[in-house]
Structure formats: C-alpha cells, structure tokens
C-alpha cells in the first residue's frame, strides 16, 4: 500500500502563510536583544562604518546556520538538545548544556542590565527597577502563554525601525558608508578583534539555534514545509542584519563622527548610545532608546531562562512544563529560577560595569559558537538522522569555513586576553 501524501487543509495553508513571519523571523527579532543593541552601537561608535562589511559574511553564515537548525527540526521532529543527546551521549551533551546554561544566564544578566540602563534614563534606581522587572518577568511567564508574550514583544520590537530613519536623517556620507563595505582588517587596532568577535557572537547567538529548532518542532513543520521555512529564515536573517547595519551607521554618523570632530563621547553605559537616535527623535532620543532596550530586555529575559530550562530538561529527560507543580518538575523549575534570579542578581552587584559585562557576554557567545556549530554539522551530515536531507556541499563549505574563521578569531581573542600586547593593546 502506498501512503497518500498528506493533504493540506485550508487551516494548514493559513498556518503556512503565517510561517513566512514564523519561527525564523521571531528568532531573529529575539536576537536583537540588549546585547545586540549594545554591541552594534558600540561597533559603530568606536569604528564608524569600517566594520559594516563584516555584516555581509555574517548574513550568509547566519542564513546557513539557521537553515540548518530549521532543516533538522523539519526532518527529525526533534529539538537540537534531543539530537545532541541521542548522537553524542551524556558527556558531550552535559558539556554543551553546562555551557549553554552558563552563557544564557550571563545573557539574562545583560537583559537585566539593559532594563537597569533604561530605568536609569528615567531616574529610577536599578535596585528598584531590576527586582521589579524580575517579578514582572516571573508573572509574565506564569500567567501568559509564551506565544502571546512572543507576539507582544515582536510587535514592540518594531521600534528598532527608528534606527533606519535616524541613520538616514543623520545624513551620513553615503560614500563613506559604501567604503565600509570593503573588507578591511585591523588586527593591530586596540579593541578591533574584541568588537569583531562580539559582533559574531551577538549575531549568531548559540541559543538562537536551540530556540529556532524547538519552535520549528513545536509548529510541527514537516519536510514538505522546508521551502517556506527557508523563506522565513532568509526574511528573518536579512531583517536582523539590516537593522544591525543601520544601528552601526546611526552610531557611526553620530557618536563616532562627533568624536572625530573633537568631542569626547566615550560611552560608559548603554544609555549613552541613545545619542544615535538624536537625529530622528531630538530630545526624545533617550526615551525611545530606553523603550527599545527595556522591551528587548524584558522580552529576552522572559524567553531565555525559560527556554534554557526546557532545553536542558529535553537533553536529560527531566519533566518540563510550566503548568506543572514544582514537585512534578523540580529540575525544570530550579533551572528556570536559578537562571532568572542569578541573571538579575549579577546586575545588582555593587560597582559592576554593566556595559563591559554586556559586551563581554557577546564575545563569550562568539567563543562558544564554533563548538555548537561543529556538533550541528556532525549531526546534520549523518544519513541515519537526516536521510537525504544532509548538508549540501555548498552549505558544508560555508558552515565549516564559518567554524574555522570564528574558531581562529576566538583563539586570537583568548590569546589577546592573556597577552594584551599581541594586538596593539
């Protein structure tokens, strides 16, 4: 008996149309978190337009990596954590999960740091704002469906479009911007490598692959849905990269240029980057910037510790569901609570330099990324797992090149941390 192909009902067609604004798009929006805003702003403020070219190879790598995660979800119907556990066993998945939990907790801290910066723009102390946000996030998670939360914040994240307008209104010298598209390497310039690794880490965050693949599985996308899912991935990635590029341009055209003309704008905290919105928003620049990072902070703080707890439990087979009692899913709730509370707690450490902490977290993401990509590449090239949907030669070349380049840069970065004199620092 030959099985008839699955028929698509009207409802399913609607779902598929919605998928064009689907998991890939949402994941890309979630990727523009506090760390992303800080990293892109900092890159523009420090180096003007000269780092814009990096966004082009990053766009390609981002699309390839996210397509891989999407394809693995469509073909296997399993999350990335499940596949890692089933392919590599306990030890490697334990290392991967420990690293993921660590970096994601640090990232949760960066989100709370963003919330702290936003609140300080309005004159509210972080010692009030952060605990308040913690309670708010906790209530959001407990009371609302995660889909609802997702929709609200993805809607609000349209505020980033202001960066495009602001970049245009700043009247940058477009010839200079275009020159920034030509690859230039400044390994000897202090802070250049740090900025590059940070850009990589924040653009292709390790957690995004887990998040994306889980969303694909939850949406029950199938091999036959791959073409549309790919459209979604490309849409989301291109939008994310475009916004990032305009953030760099807006900061380059304001903070960087002002410094070139003798000003001494030396951003010490995230809120100093509000300057980049001045050409558009004038005296409301701070308010709009604060709203942007507050939204990004709350959204990612809501999503990250929760999805981390789900992913870790998925790998180790612990019960995980937000609507259970604590006694039914103790590991899950503990991971969630520890990630969230520790994240908020780090921000409240007296004297901590929040902007440095945020940018360091992005570098750490860049350093951890090659490890994740190697695991993904091994899984996706296994015929027993992927059948006929293993990586194409081109995808393998791009992905392995990404691994090698990022691995190389990360190694240099780590070496630079131990021997600062290596790179002009």
């Amino acid at each position: 008996m030959v099985e008839a192909p699955r028929k698509r009902s009207f409802g399913r067609t609607l779902v598929l149309i919605a998928a064009v604004l689907g998991p890939g798009f949402i994941t890309a929006s979630a990727g523009n978190d506090v760390g992303g805003i800080a990293q892109y702003s900092s890159a523009g403020a420090q180096f003007g337009y000269s780092l814009i070219w990096i966004m082009i190879p990053l766009a390609i790598a981002l699309i390839v990596v996210q397509e891989m995660a999407t394809r693995m979800g469509c073909i296997t119907g399993k999350g990335l954590a499940s596949l890692m556990r089933e392919t590599f066993g306990v030890r490697i998945s334990f290392l991967a999960m420990a690293a993921l939990f660590f970096i994601n907790t640090l990232l949760a801290a960066t989100e709370f740091a963003g919330i702290a910066s936003a609140s300080e723009i309005f004159g509210v102390s972080k010692y009030i704002a952060v605990p308040g946000a913690l309670v708010f996030v906790f209530l959001l998670v407990m009371r609302l469906e995660s889909k609802t939360v997702e929709r609200i914040f993805v809607g609000f994240s349209l505020v980033y479009l202001t960066y495009i307008a602001s970049a245009v209104l700043a009247h940058p010298n477009w010839g200079d911007v275009a020159r920034g598209l030509a690859p230039t390497i400044h390994l000897q310039t202090a802070g250049w490598l740090v900025a590059v690794v940070g850009l990589i880490g924040t653009t292709i965050s390790p957690y995004m692959q887990f998040y994306l693949q889980s969303a694909v599985v939850e949406k029950d996308l199938r091999p036959e849905d791959l073409p549309l899912a790919r459209v979604d991935v490309v849409n989301g990635s291109v939008l994310a990269i475009a916004l990032a590029a305009f953030m760099i341009i807006a900061n380059g055209a304001t903070i960087f240029l002002a410094n070139q003309h003798g000003a001494n704008l030396n951003p010490q905290q995230a809120s100093d980057f509000a300057e980049a919105l001045r050409p558009l928003a004038g005296k409301f620049a701070e308010a709009i910037f604060a709203f942007g990072i507050f939204n990004a902070g709350i959204f990612t703080a809501t999503v990250l510790p929760l999805s981390t707890a789900y992913v870790v439990c998925e790998a180790f087979g612990f019960e995980a569901a937000i609507d259970r009692k604590f006694s039914e899913a103790p590991v899950f709730f503990s991971l969630f609570a520890v990630g969230l509370i520790l994240g908020a707690g780090i921000v409240l450490v007296p004297g901590i330099h929040l902007l440095k902490m945020i940018l360091f977290a992005q570098d750490l993401q860049g350093i951890l990324l090659p490890g994740e990509l190697v695991l993904m590449l091994i899984i996706i090239n296994r015929k027993t797992i992927m059948g006929t949907h293993t990586n194409s030669r081109l995808a393998n070349i791009i992905a392995w090149t990404t691994v090698v380049v990022i691995g190389f840069l990360s190694t240099l970065y780590v070496a630079g941390q131990f021997y600062p004199r290596l790179f002009g620092g």
Partner: protein, 430 residues
C-alpha cells in the same frame, strides 16, 4: 559466566578478546525479542579492524575477566541491519521512552543487565540522576568524596516490563510489533496526557503503536487541538478507524471541529451506519442537548415480557455504556416510556414492559442549552435524560457525566472521576 549484573555503559567500550588476544571493542548489544518480560541478549557487536562484526551470545565465554569480554571464536558475520532487531545502544540508550509504570516520558540514561540462569538478560532502564553520573564517570568520585550526598541521589530504575519505546515514525526504522504495545496498559487519560506532552511527531509514533480501540479511548481524553493535529498526521484511513471506535458524542465533537471537506472524507471511510449516526450528531451545537447526547442508549419494545427483555440485556450489557435506564420505543422510535434497571429486575418475569414502564418521564429538546440539561438532570436526580424532538421521537440520551463536563470549566472537569465506565455500546435489538 562470572558476570552477575551490571550496566550497559560499563560494558560498552570493553575489549573483546580471543585467548587473551584483543580483536576489537564491544559497541552494542542485540536483542531479538524485545517484547519478552526480561529479554535475552542474543549477541554483541564488536568493532574490529574489518568493521563491525556480530558475535552470537553462544560465543561469549565470559563478560568480566580482566575487564574484557572473552569470546570463544572470532565473530565473522557483519552485524544484522538496524531496524530488524533491537540494539540496546543504538536504539535505546539516550532515547526517550514512556515509563508505563510511572506514566511519563523519560530518557534512558543506562540499561541494567543481569545474568539469570546462565543467560544475559535486560532487566531495567535507569532514568535517574545516578545513571547520568555514572555516564559522566562521576560515580566513583561521588562515592568517595560525597558519600552522604551520593546516597541521596535518586535511583530511578524502571523494570523492563514498563519500558515502552517511542518508536520512530521513519518507516526504515519501524519494527514489526509482535505483541500489543505496553502503552495500551496505561489508563486512557494517562495515555492522553503523555500524548499531549510529546512533540507532534512523537505523538504520531505513539498512536501508530496503538490498536484502534486504545487509540480511540485516548483520543476521547485529548484536547481538540491535539486531536486535530494528530488526525492530520495519521492519515484519513487510520483516523476514520479510530473515530469509529470513539464514543459517538465525543466523535461528533471532534468532527465538528474539523473543516467540512475533511469531515466528508473521514465519514466516507467509515461504515455507513456509524457515518449516518455521526452526520446527525454533528449538526447540533456543541453545547446543546443534541451536541452532548449519545445515540447509544438501551432501547426496548413495549410488548415484550420482563424475562425476554432481561435476557436481551444480558446479551448486550458487557459492551454497553449505559444500561441503568431503558427506553421503551415503538417501531418509529417514538419514546413511549422509561424504565430503570431496578424496576425491571424487581418486576414479575411475565409482566409486560408497557405495564411497568413510567410514562410520566422527563425529556429535553435537542436545542436545549447544556446548562438547562444539567439543571434537569440535577433537579430530577437522574443518571441520564432522554433527548426527544418535537414529534416525540427518541434521538439519544445525555448522561450525567457528559452534562457535567459541558458546564464545568475543563480543568476542573478533568479532575473529577467519571461515574460511568466508558466503553462500547450497542442498542438492545428486540
């Protein structure tokens, strides 16, 4: 064999030797009859220089000497292809299973094997933290440095009898199940909860292991969203088989949720009688008497004796959902009266039904809202109320538990025990 018991994780990776000469490493264990209570291990896979080779268990001399596995002769055959038999490492270790005893989905961290009567058998699956620590190589560390904590690490072993693998829907990996799935031992509501917790793909894999009856019982407890997505995934033919086995009121509710073309397709796959019945039921609003009712009531004719009627009921009772009330109808299905089982049993064997039946019965119209139906049932202390149309024709009954379900918030209703066992039902042919 000196080997008494141990874990797969401690055996995998050991050297395989012949006359103390190493020939390769043990990578996997093969079980040919995984459905046995404690299945026997039928052989090992040894990774040799020539590739993976299969060593039948008869050629294994000892499993514990000097930390190696001693063979009596060199394994020659390549390992049997995956998919035909069960490999403990490739197919089960690190995979998700349903713990039938604990009624949840877990991951296998390790597998315990034991020497029983000279044969190596699979005994249990380790799904606890202890198994994770052992795999991480931290067991001896834990024992030595933190014995107090180590003692408290929960040891969660699942007897093999309760391990039900969630099989891959991928056809190349589907194994033919010889016996019925262990999953069918679960209570339908537990099974439904497990299905609801799984990803869509895994849920399909679980449903594919179930017979139609078990699947139907589980379906009755699933929420509409999960039902819909499963029906899309398992295909029209199988879905129709399952829906046919469901209680008709639940089946009608499910069909009512589906788009019309899908309804038509499913009904076309069913037998004509069930399809007709469901077509009628689907027309009624879900929260009306018509939507709540089941046509599976026990009906009897008026001109029979008590004795003949009891004989008939005895025949159909084992498969009938609801026999506590009997509905007396004429050949046009007009409801003439009702009768409780108690009245029937206490009446003289020779008494005629139309003499002992209650003609002053309470009934509801198919369009009556659920709240009114529940109120009627409560007011008259009934177990069920008949649904009768304008002409007095009997359409079905609404049972008390369906009425409660309809007016109760879903999460509360779930926690209440059901008064009536729900199984199959037939009308009394007279």
């Amino acid at each position: 064999m000196a080997f008494t018991e141990g874990f797969i994780s401690e055996l995998v990776g050991r050297r395989a030797t012949i006359n103390d000469l190493p020939i390769g490493k043990v990578t996997d264990f093969l079980v040919k009859k995984p459905d046995a209570t404690f299945p026997q291990i039928d052989g090992l896979v040894v990774k040799t220089a020539q590739g993976p080779r299969f060593a039948p268990i008869e050629t294994v001399a000892d499993v514990d000497r000097n930390g190696t596995i001693a063979l009596t002769m060199a394994p020659k055959d390549p390992a049997p292809p995956e998919g035909e038999e069960l490999y403990l490492v490739a197919d089960l270790l690190d995979k998700q299973i349903v713990d039938v005893d604990g009624r949840k989905v877990v991951r296998i961290n390790d597998i315990e094997v034991a020497n029983a009567g000279g044969r190596l058998r699979v005994v249990a699956a380790d799904v606890g933290v202890a198994g994770l620590l052992r795999r991480l190589g931290l067991r001896s560390f834990g024992k030595r440095f933190t014995p107090a904590i180590y003692k408290r690490v929960p040891r969660s072993m699942i007897a093999w009898d309760s391990v039900a693998p969630i099989r891959e829907p991928n056809p190349s990996q589907v194994r033919l199940s010889v016996t019925e799935s262990k999953l069918s031992r679960l209570h339908p509501s537990d099974l439904a909860e497990i299905i609801g917790d799984l990803s869509a793909r895994e849920a399909v894999a679980v449903v594919q292991q179930l017979d139609d009856e078990t699947a139907a019982d589980a379906f009755e407890h699933l929420d509409a969203e999960t039902q819909k997505s499963l029906i899309e995934d398992i295909g029209t033919e199988r879905a129709a088989d399952i829906i046919e086995e469901m209680d008709s009121d639940d089946a009608a509710d499910l069909l009512a949720e589906l788009p019309e073309d899908q309804q038509t397709e499913l009904l076309a796959e069913m037998n004509a009688y069930t399809a007709d019945e469901l077509r009628t039921l689907v027309q009624y609003a879900e929260d009306s008497a018509g939507g709540l009712m089941t046509p599976d009531y026990t009906w009897i004719y008026p001109h029979r004796t008590t004795e003949a009627t009891i004989r008939k009921i005895r025949e159909i009772a084992p498969t009938s959902e609801f026999i506590y009330y009997l509905y007396v109808v004429d050949k046009d299905d007009m409801l003439l009266g009702t009768l409780s089982l108690r009245t029937l049993l206490l009446a003289l064997p020779t008494a005629f039904i139309d003499r002992i039946m209650d003609t002053d019965f309470v009934s509801v119209h198919p369009d009556a809202p659920a709240v009114d139906v529940a109120a009627t049932i409560a007011k008259y202390d009934l177990l069920a109320v008949p649904v009768v149309d304008d002409q007095g024709k009997m359409l079905g009954i609404v049972t008390v538990d369906d009425a409660i379900d309809a007016i109760m918030p879903p999460d509360v209703a779930k926690k209440l025990p059901h008064f009536m066992a729900r199984h199959h039902h037939h009308a009394v042919g007279a």
